[in-house]
């Protein structure tokens, strides 16, 4: 019997083990004098990879809301932004503009999760009963309101400059930039895998079955005695809290937050990733997100070999992204790895 056979078979348990391994290896780089040297062509991969694992936590939260429960949250970026701002404002030291309280960063991260969860609770208490497309509009409008609040109250949120001087725990431990990038990717990747393990446990439990039953037919679910509003509110708040967690990680990785990081583009990216991969399947949504974010790499490399300007290329990439969304909904409504029968979209 080889060691491979003794590995647990469930997706959740495997993600748990992989996450712990990633965290340990990341900690090895961060805490010991062990150093790595990256070839310069790899930088861009590692940077996009770090952003991918942070967005991965976002897409897992969104998948809990839309994929499992059927809640159309089209303002997911607002929870990401609120988490990031709360973390930044509590932990930033000597920020150039806005408020920085200088508390230890774990406190900031916790506050980020809590702030996003509270906002999620507020949105769901008021709007969870709305029909799908109107819930999408309310969440979208919420995101726009917060965006303009962040831009306009520069005494509190630092305006367009945002909040600088957020502590970077990993950067503080590792001075060498190559090792720092690798350690960041491993630690954040490990956190994303642990998140994957947790949401997998949640949705494989009977609790997840109730969520999927709500998505399939809310009336039937209610008729078997489940309080669908309670379940929907909980799923929404969990998703919002995960997005706030991702926001806090982003602030602590980036060392600064600004409104420019939290545009509707973030929402669109995670949505397209989720739909492309296949909603209601945790690993599929991560794979879909990887494809969409991989397009950034393609366009960055293509930029070097083609004679067009960066602006033109950005436009072309977004045209492709928009058409992918259209094509997925029309020709593969369940996504690449989704189950059409389970999602109820087979025509």
């Amino acid at each position: 019997m080889s060691a491979l056979d003794r590995l647990p078979s469930g997706h959740g348990d495997r993600a748990l083990i992989a996450g712990v391994v990633c965290l340990l290896v990341g900690a090895l780089f961060a805490l010991t004098p062990l150093r790595v040297q990256l070839p310069s062509a790899f930088y861009v991969f590692v940077e996009v990879g770090i952003l991918f694992v942070i967005y991965g936590v976002l897409v897992l939260g969104l998948d809990l809301q839309y994929g499992h429960t059927g809640l159309v949250n089209f303002g997911h970026v607002v929870f990401f932004a609120v988490g990031a701002y709360a973390t930044a404002m509590l932990s930033a030291q000597d920020t150039f503009a806005g408020i920085g309280l200088g508390y230890p960063w774990p406190l900031g991260l916790a506050a980020g999760v809590i702030a996003a969860a509270i906002l999620g609770a507020a949105v769901s208490l008021t709007s969870i009963r709305l029909r799908g497309d109107f819930l999408a509009i309310v969440t979208l409008a919420t995101a726009e309101i917060f965006h303009s609040v962040f831009v306009n109250f520069d005494n509190i949120f630092g305006g367009n400059v945002g909040i600088l001087g957020v502590p970077r725990p990993i950067a503080a431990l590792v001075t060498d930039s190559d090792t720092r990038l690798v350690a960041t990717l491993l630690v954040l990747g490990g956190v994303t895998l642990l998140t994957l393990a947790i949401v997998t446990r949640l949705t494989e439990a009977p609790y997840g079955r109730v969520l999927r039953a709500i998505r399939a037919d809310e009336l039937v679910t209610r008729s078997v005695g489940k309080s669908t509003i309670t379940y929907k509110t909980q799923a929404f708040v969990y998703g919002a809290a995960l997005a706030g967690f991702a926001g806090g990680l982003f602030a602590l990785y980036n060392g600064a937050v600004a409104p420019g990081f939290f545009t509707i583009q973030v929402t669109v990216t995670v949505w397209i990733g989720m739909l492309l991969g296949g909603a209601a399947n945790h690993r599929a949504v991560l794979a879909g997100l990887a494809i969409i974010m991989g397009l950034r790499l393609v366009s960055r490399f293509a930029l070097d070999v083609t004679p067009v300007s960066g602006d033109v290329f950005a436009s072309i990439r977004l045209i492709v992204v928009g058409l992918i969304l259209v094509a997925v909904i029309r020709y593969r409504p369940a996504g690449i790895w989704g189950d059409p029968q389970e999602l109820g979209v087979d025509q």
């Binding site: 159309v72 089209f74 008021t126 709007s127 009963r129 709305l130 029909r131 799908g132 497309d133 109107f134 999408a136 509009i137 309310v138 979208l140 409008a141 919420t142 726009e144 309101i145 303009s148 609040v149 831009v151 306009n152 109250f153 520069d154 809310e218 209610r222 669908t228 509003i229 669109v268 949505w271 397209i272 739909l275 602006d311 033109v312 950005a314 436009s315 072309i316 977004l318 045209i319 992204v321 928009g322 058409l323 992918i324 969304l325 259209v326 909904i329 029309r330 409504p333 979209v345 025509q347």
Partner: protein, 304 residues
């Protein structure tokens, strides 16, 4: 500036938002989808109008007609290509499709038209009313002198003409009556022998024509760029929902409420926070959905 001046601006904003909101709400009521790409129809209309104004020899009205025809053609072609094939899938997939289409169109326009904003050159005459006394209350002047330009009058006048035309269309013509019947109950309309696909197509054309007109008016007031329409889409949406999604008359009312609230909040907010005035529209939107989701006149949008 006095409050009266802001009210004039509010009326102008309300007017072009109203024209667009009628088209938006008709699509909502009859095709049963929130069309998030509608802002791009408006931008396309603005660009077609701008091209026509610079290449055709005629005056501004020629450009307006060109934009309206162009808007109608764009709308029906896009609807046939993207929305009609997935008509049966329900509101959420159609909303998502329109978001994807909107991104693609917006960046397509940016690719072809470039990033810089262009401006319509129009001859403007200004009518000033300076004799009114100031009534300052705190930092806000409740009356004060104001001015109206001929552009303002054109926008408000076109809006009034559109309201009359849409009203006549919906109440006096067979197509309009069929549209209202379909908005009410599609199956019953089909039972009565209405060709629902034909009506849907005519709604798409009408909405495109209105988007073209709104595009030129917005462009005259602001500028022509890839974001001309997109920067207004949430206000249009708020106006339509405020009025009761699907109701053109409600949309008109909603648009003027939005326009006036934007203008008044600009007057009352401290100058460092005028950027917040656009958020006011969304605050109204959320408030309406919470308090009276059916809007001023319209149907229930809550499920449970």
């Amino acid at each position: 500036m006095g409050l009266l001046q802001e009210l004039v601006f509010g009326l102008v904003t309300g007017s072009y938002i109203a024209i667009a909101a009628i088209g938006f709400t008709l699509i909502y009521g009859i095709v049963n989808m929130i069309n998030f790409a509608y802002g791009e129809y408006i931008s396309l209309g603005a660009f077609i109008g701008f091209l026509a104004a610079n290449t055709l020899p005629g005056p501004l009205p020629v450009a307006v007609v060109a934009a309206m025809i162009g808007g109608g053609v764009v709308s029906i072609v896009l609807a046939r290509g993207f929305f009609t094939p997935i008509n049966q899938t329900g509101p959420v997939p159609m909303l998502l499709t329109s978001i994807g289409l909107g991104i693609a169109l917006r960046n397509g326009i940016r690719l072809v038209g470039g990033r810089s904003a262009r401006y319509f050159e129009t001859d403007t005459s200004t009518f000033r009313f300076d004799a009114l006394p100031d009534i300052p209350i705190g930092p806000v002047d409740l009356l004060g002198g104001f001015f109206v330009t001929s552009e303002h009058l054109i926008v408000i006048g076109s809006a009034a003409a559109v309201f009359a035309a849409v009203h006549l269309l919906l109440t006096r013509t067979d197509v309009g009556i069929a549209m209202r019947a379909m908005g009410d109950d599609e199956s019953l309309a089909r039972v009565r022998g209405i060709d629902t696909q034909l009506i849907r197509d005519s709604v798409w054309i009408l909405a495109g024509v209105l988007a073209g007109l709104a595009g030129v008016l917005m462009a005259v007031q602001t500028n022509v760029s890839a974001d001309t329409g997109y920067s207004h889409i949430l206000q249009i949406l708020s106006a339509a929902i405020l009025g009761g999604a699907g109701s053109p008359y409600g949309a008109i009312l909603g648009a003027y409420v939005i326009g006036l609230v934007l203008a008044v909040s600009t007057a009352f907010l401290p100058s460092s926070m005028t950027g917040l005035s656009s958020a006011m529209a969304f605050v109204i939107l959320i408030a309406v959905l919470l308090v009276k989701p059916s809007g001023i006149a319209g149907t229930e949008v809550r499920e449970a």
